[in-house]
Structure formats: structure tokens, C-alpha cells
Subunit: 253 residues, 2 copies
Amino acid sequence: MAVMMGTMTFDPQDPDTPEALGSTAPPGSGSRVTMRGSLSRRGILQTAVTLIDQNDLRYLTMRQLGADLGVEAMALYRYVHSREDLLSGVVELVIDDLYGDPDVHLKDSGWEEYLLKLAHGVRRIALAHPQVFPLIATRPPAAPWVRPPLRSLRWMESFLDTLHRCGFSDRDSVQAYRSFSSFLLGHLLLEVSAQGADIGPIEQASPHDTPKTDLSEYPRLQSLASELSQDHSATEFEIALEALMDRLQLLRQ
Amino acid sequence: MAVMMGTMTFDPQDPDTPEALGSTAPPGSGSRVTMRGSLSRRGILQTAVTLIDQNDLRYLTMRQLGADLGVEAMALYRYVHSREDLLSGVVELVIDDLYGDPDVHLKDSGWEEYLLKLAHGVRRIALAHPQVFPLIATRPPAAPWVRPPLRSLRWMESFLDTLHRCGFSDRDSVQAYRSFSSFLLGHLLLEVSAQGADIGPIEQASPHDTPKTDLSEYPRLQSLASELSQDHSATEFEIALEALMDRLQLLRQ
DNA sequence: AGCCGGAGTTTACAACGTAAAGCGAGGATG
DNA sequence: CATCCTCGCTTTACGTTGTAAACTCCGGCT
């Protein structure tokens, strides 16, 4: 039985699949009648996000971004200090999507519901912006104690405050923040990376790579081929998340 | 009490601190009498690794690497197809370090010892090459089911075979592989990223960033400042690893 | 001796980020 | 109304990058 090893089968029902999620069309994107003054930092960042999502990070070039906005590359520098700043802005923008997500309620819920909603919210933006998420994950944080992917001070504050109010000690709420961060980062980075490899924009890699991966040296891989090709990200995410929460529950006693 | 919020305090005793770990000196690195024929793919990759470790990924330039090897940039292209190929090679090389690690025994041990040693082995290389690890984490894998940071077929084979021999079902050993990968990725990426932010090579970021982060808006952060500034990566790694293994234990029944 | 192939160099080019100067429209000011 | 200033964008330019193509040169073969 020949199993398609370069492809994955996906779970049919996934709660965090990208549907709407704040697609406020960036001004000037699409409309070619870009008159003077239509540019704005937010619009630039939004166009940058769609540019990254549709292609690849290295496709986001100052000139390309300018062209997409109907403007010369140098015009962007009035709104972004540099390309680095642009990327930071992109990360910030995407994270901010989360803050406006109505499904992620911050106030007046148990810590368990809070963490659940938050985790799924983050997963939703990761899946909506698979090309941007690695950036969220790897961009150097403002301070060493700010951890991706919840890399804004207000999210940290919200998180730590909620847990504190739910009876976590100082030490334990910080501990929870760290566990939660690394859980999200690990799971989601792997998920979007696998997704990127599946429908990757560019096949770089070595010359005769994966036309048909030779597994003759690896009997276990061979026999697990079908198992490995199945994607259960959604359920695995759920299970691991609940396991984490059980651990945190014990912490709190 | 003024807490230093841009700095971290570290655990004194950490088992995975970088000491020796395969520092076979790359040929031609240091010796300036580079005669014809001294170049090799392996040597190039090794020099590239030290170049990344000492500075930054964006410091690794074909010309710079050539200069370090006492050779013109174009000479490298006889051994490396492109810069992308170079980076892939770097990742592969660093991962291979793990395969030669005597502390990571593969055969004839329980799955628990196997996972423990493997996890610490990976942590050791992550800490030894903090600048390279993000590359290991984010570089697109050969196939969607190959997951960083154990991104070689032989490691997958070894992993899955060991678990299989220890009584894990097909489904469960794959499940274990995935959990283990995301655990390692999340923890270690955050650890090296925090480390990189601490003694970061270049302060990019916004104009008046972190001269003194203003926390007046964030009371919870303020009161947790000291807690947040402490680094317990080693013990947290250990605890999370054991929690994961408990979960896997239950899987196996 | 003559050739030849492979290792490294030279030259060249397109694409990138970005500094610096230019420029035109519109509002403010006389 | 004329003038000027400023803001938003364009033009031009430069240095750095990855890499193709041609060239050079040395050591070993016939």
C-alpha cells in the first residue's frame, strides 16, 4: 500500500480554523486611486501581513510593499523606522488581533476558562497567519522575561492578574505563565511549520530532495508512515492543553 | 527596592551548561596558511556555526565566512549550493553533534532513561549554540511529519523504535514523538531567546525602548518583577519533562 | 612537453535597505 | 493675491548582499 508521505490528512472539524478574524481591509490595498495622504502606519502593517501570509517572509520587501500600496518604497519610511521596525509592527498588529477577539474574554471567568479561551485565541491567529507566527515566536522580546507568543505587557498583566485573583501564588502564577507560553510556542510553531511544509511556497532544499523520500533504511518509519501522515493537531492541542491545566491545578492545590 | 528588570539571575548548577561538547576545531580556522585544498564542506559548516554563535545569524555572510576561512566568497560555492544550503548544513551539523554525544545512549535502556538523556542532550546543544537553535526550530523540515528539533530521519527512527520496543503502540509512539518535540521546541526556544535578549548582540527595537521599562500601568507585573527576573530554566525543564513522561506513562498503560 | 581538470579568484549584476536631496501641492501668512 | 513653508512622496544614489560566468593557475596525467 503506497502511502502519500509528503502530504498530510487533516482533521475535518477544527474549532480554530481561520474564518473571519479581523479582516478589516487595509486602506489603499486594491484601490489603485491612492491619493496623497492615504498612507498610514496601520495600513502599511496590514498590507505587510497579507503580503507575508500570501507568499513568504522574504517576499516582503520594502519596494514590493510600496508597490502593493501604490507608492514608492521610500514613502514607507515616514511611517516605519526600518524594516526591523516594520516586522516588529507586524508582530504587534497580529497579536493585537487577539486583544480584539470577542471569544477571548478577559474578565470574570475562572482561570481555566481564561486559559482555554486564550490558548484557542492564540491558536486561531497562528493558523490565520502561518507565515507570521514564526516571526512572533523568534523575534527578540522587549525584555528577557517577556515570552512569546504572549509578548505584550498587557497580555502578561492580564494573565498574571487573572491567575492571581484565582488564588495562584506569585511564584505559581509566574510558573504558569512560563509553562503556558512554552506550551503554546511549541505546539503552534510545529503546527504552522508542518502546514507550511505541506503547501510551502518555495521548494528550496537539496537537489534530489523528497521526490520520493527513501525510507528503506528506516523500517520503523516505514511501518508508521500512515500514522505519521495523519494530522491530529486540534485534538492533540486540546489534550496537551488539558494536561497542562491539570498540572497547574495541582500547583494551586 | 529597585529590581534590575532587564537582567536575569541564573541557577548556579545546571547539568546542560556548555563545556566541551565536540569542539573539533574547524580546519583552517585560525591557521592563516590556508593552502589549496584545505577547504571542505564540513570545515565550512563548522566555521559557519562558530560565526553564528559568536555574533548573529545576519553576520553570517558569504564574504565574511570566506574571509574567516582565508578565501574568497565564491570559493565556498564549490561545497555549498547556496546560502540556504549552507544554513541547512549548519542545522544538520549541529544536530549531528547530538548523535556523537556519549551521554545520549541509544540502545538498551528503558524509554524513560532514553527520553531523559535525549532531552538533556538536545538542551545541551541548544545552550551551546543559542543563535543556531532558532534556525533548527524554524527551518522548513524535509517532510511535514519531520518535526524540529529532532529533524533527522535517523533520530525519528531511533525514537520511534525505542518506544515501540518498550511497548508503545504505533499510535502512542507517534503521539509521544509529537509531544516530545513540541515540549523541547517550546522550552528550549524560549530559553535561548531569553538568553539572547539578555546579552543580545544588537539592540534594535524602537527608539526609546527599555532604557527603563515603564511598568506603572501594570501593577501585577510590578509586584512580580523580582519573581519574573529569576531564571529557573533548568528546574522548570526537568519538571515539565517529568510531567510529560508521566503523561506518556499513562498512554502506555 | 603538452594538456587538462579542478580549486580558487575576478569581475559583474540584480536586488536589497536606506540616506539625502528634490519637488509639488496646499494651507498659512504677509 | 503673492509668497513661503511644510508635509508627503519621488528621485537619485550608495553600500552590501547572493550568486552567475569567466578567468587563472597549479599539480598530475599521458
